[in-house]
Amino acid sequence: MAEVQFRFRDDEPVADPAVTVDSFAAQSNAAAVRLEPGDDAALLIPHLERLRLVEVAFPVWTDGRGYSSARTLREAGYTGELRAVGDVLIDQLGQMRRCGFDSFAPEHELDADDAAASFARWDNVYQATGDGRKPIWALRHPA
Amino acid sequence: MKIVTASDLRTGAVVWWTGSDWSLHVEDAADAGDHADAIIAREQGAQKVCDGQVIEGTRDENGVRPAHIKDRIRALGPTVRPDLTLKPADPDAGNWVI
């Protein structure tokens, strides 16, 4: 299992292994689940209270379904750990963060300096994505 | 003959493996035989070229001729801009492509 290389949370990492979406429904005490690209993140919405870790798999980074899964969970109110796992590369880190990911377990270890630069690349953003950053249109028109 | 061709990584120029180096000119292409894949892997790994391919061609007294029209255009340049090709002064260059 790939190690978490970057984590933007203060709480203790969840030690439970992440179960599949199918198993999760059957196990009332599971607190960690893994979403594959084709899984429907909305299936988890009734269970957000007991979820502490959601891993979203990126078997290949060009399959961007995980971005929508992440936003769907955050929009539903999920505040637990949202971890990008697999083909997680330097140049996608910033956008993953914007979609709500707060931990990253890349298949192959990434250069820490390159990663820091990627996370910090954009001072401002054009869109509201629920990551707490004020989009440029909000800065232009302060309420 | 099995010709190895690629694009120079930095410049994008079309290049042909001569047996020991890369040339801009298809006439310099060597028959890479069974070594083609290894050559491509090595040269790409050294960040010299990208998009390495093995193509079919023939060599006769007129020179090297790639088998497919796309590769012949690639070897020459755009037929509609002879001035931008590798043979701007050759009026028959466009016919060679067909």
């Binding site: 060009t62 929009e75 956008q95 953003v125 869109q127 | 029209i69 796309k70 255009i73 037929t79």
Partner: protein, 550 residues
């Protein structure tokens, strides 16, 4: 036109830094070509048949004279002295070096230009009506909405790894001058019965292997929900678009396979949810953008008549100018289709000349059309003659707009590694044939479009006459299609029958136009006659066995 504020400028500057860093890491071998390729595509940099090709964005086809001037300078400084204007209102350079690309992007950023998302599986340049802000028939100028969508789509983190490319067009008139129905999303700004302005969304159009006309998904989205609705459309696509087969990955396939009703249902559900997420910019932002598209300071009391004594000038006025909403003004179209020329190409000197003429005659503004021509949107009628003379001296005044010589052609096998056949030589031969036979003006409106492969970048499905280049056992071969149309009367061309060689296709086109000339009824264009009499008469003429003498 839109001017960057400090935020917009910072975004393009950061993008230049990001790409410079990515190129450095690529050249050092820190990332592989497989990892790098999608990154360079998101900055418009393709590896093409002869070199790297850079596609620079011209947002909704609008640019200033100083931007145009820099595009000419880039052609000289980094390329081989020319550029190519594309069927999506962009410009391409064919001889770029990777090691120069970050500097080129930095030069572009200095005039508020970029190559962001002009390729790759993301939302591409948003196109619009080339007569926006000038034509009398528009409801409003569509470009502020296109600019709002441009900012929303730029670096949108959820939509940077879509199943495939995504193209959006925005118009605001009943006449569709942007081929809106052949886009992944086509938006028409409309007014409802209550007099409110909103947007009609058409989703699932496109060309390529399986051309489709976009169905109407929602007839009215209020302006203060425009971005939210677009986001819902994209999210459903991102989640459900096919990723198993590159040739079935566009949204048109999803809408077709899911069915319009189900796609609409899912979008509406996502839309209803997203309305609670505060992702819509306030109307003040749209107002801020709109203020930058205010009318230029038109003079009043201008002469409305044009002195048409010079017959060549008169021909150009008749074909290449269009009515303007302001009295005393006209819209003028520069043809990049000289007889026997390369459609859409312009030399660096021509590009700089066009920039100067924009400054002198068109409030410093130009447009790129999806038919690969250039438009001066606001020209005083009194200036048309001088403008025409200057254009004519530079080979830019061919009087052929929308005629058979105004050919749309992709770069084809001369430049493109995806192509199966050359398209430009066919365009040149047809252009020369019809200049020689003198029939072009009599034929009148005939939109001829040529693609060098099934990817259809030449939009051949939407040509009144369309030509598709194919590879027939290593030899270039050309299929003929008739009856396509890109406008509000959108239709897809029908293939006539067996294909032709390069000379045969030119003959076939002439035979088709001869059928039209023989059979047309009063007021009919080629397209109208075809629609009335059908394929059969054309087929008979095109494939008739030649009589052999002796």
């Amino acid at each position: 036109m839109y001017q960057y504020d400090k935020y917009d400028q910072a975004m393009v500057d950061a993008r230049v830094d990001e790409f410079r860093d990515q190129v450095a890491r690529r050249l050092a071998g820190d990332i592989t070509e497989d990892q790098f390729k999608p990154l360079r595509l998101k900055n418009g940099l393709y590896l093409q048949l002869h070199a790297y090709m850079l596609r620079v964005a011209v947002p909704y086809g609008t640019l200033s004279g100083s931007q145009m001037r820099l595009l000419g300078d880039i052609a000289d400084k980094y390329d081989r002295g020319y550029g190519h204007f594309t069927t999506r209102q962009n410009i391409q350079y064919n001889w770029i070096k990777l090691e120069d690309a970050p500097d080129i992007l930095a030069d572009l950023a200095s005039v508020e230009m970029h190559a962001i998302q002009t390729s790759g599986n993301c939302i591409r340049n948003i196109s619009s009506d080339q007569y926006a802000g000038a034509a009398a028939d528009e409801l409003v100028d569509p470009r502020p909405y296109a600019e709002l969508l441009r900012q929303w789509s730029s670096f949108h983190p959820e939509f940077l790894a879509l199943p495939r490319k995504f193209k959006i067009a925005v118009i605001a008139s009943e006449t569709d001058r942007a081929a809106m129905l052949l886009h992944d999303i086509g938006i028409r700004i409309v007014r409802n019965d209550a007099g409110e302005i909103g947007a009609a969304f058409y989703v699932g159009g496109g060309m390529g292997r399986t051309p489709m006309i976009a169905p109407l998904i929602r007839d009215f989205v209020p302006l203060d929900q425009l971005i939210t609705y677009a986001e819902a459309c994209l999210r459903v696509y991102n989640r459900h678009g096919r990723r198993d087969n590159k040739y079935k990955a566009r949204i048109k396939i999803l809408v077709h396979e899911m069915g319009k009703a189900e796609y609409t249902r899912q979008v509406e559900a996502e839309f209803a949810h997203l309305l609670s997420q505060d992702i819509e910019p306030p109307l003040a932002e749209l107002a801020r953008i709109k203020a930058q598209f205010a009318d230029p300071a038109y003079e009043t009391g201008l002469a409305d008549e044009i002195d048409l004594a010079d017959p060549a000038f008169a021909r150009w006025v008749a074909s290449n100018t269009h009515a303007h909403k302001a009295p005393g003004y006209a819209i003028a179209v520069v043809s990049l289709k000289p007889v026997g020329g390369i459609p859409g190409d312009a030399s660096a000197d021509q590009i700089r000349l066009m920039a100067d003429l924009a400054r002198d005659y068109s409030f410093d503004e130009l447009r790129v059309t999806h038919a690969q021509n250039i438009v001066y949107p606001h020209v005083r009628k009194a200036d048309l003659f001088t403008l025409w003379q200057t254009l004519d001296a530079a080979g830019l005044a061919t009087a052929n707009l929308d005629q058979i010589g105004d050919i749309i052609a992709c770069p084809g096998l001369d430049y493109c590694s995806l192509a199966n056949a050359r398209s430009i030589p066919v365009a040149q031969k047809i252009s020369e044939r019809f200049a020689a036979n003198g029939k072009a003006e009599d034929i009148g409106e005939l939109k001829l479009k040529i693609s060098g492969c099934i990817n259809a970048c030449g939009h051949h499905h939407a040509g009144h006459i369309g030509i598709l280049g194919v590879d027939r056992k290593g030899t270039e071969n050309y299929q003929l299609l008739l009856g396509g149309s890109e406008g509000a009367d959108c239709s897809l061309g029908t293939i006539t029958g067996p294909g032709f060689g390069e000379d045969g296709i030119v003959d076939a086109v002439e035979k088709a136009t001869d059928v039209y000339l023989a059979r047309r009824e009063s007021g009919e264009r080629f397209l109208d006659t075809y629609r009335r009499i059908g394929m059969q008469p054309f087929k008979e003429a095109i494939y008739a066995k030649e009589s052999v003498d002796g």
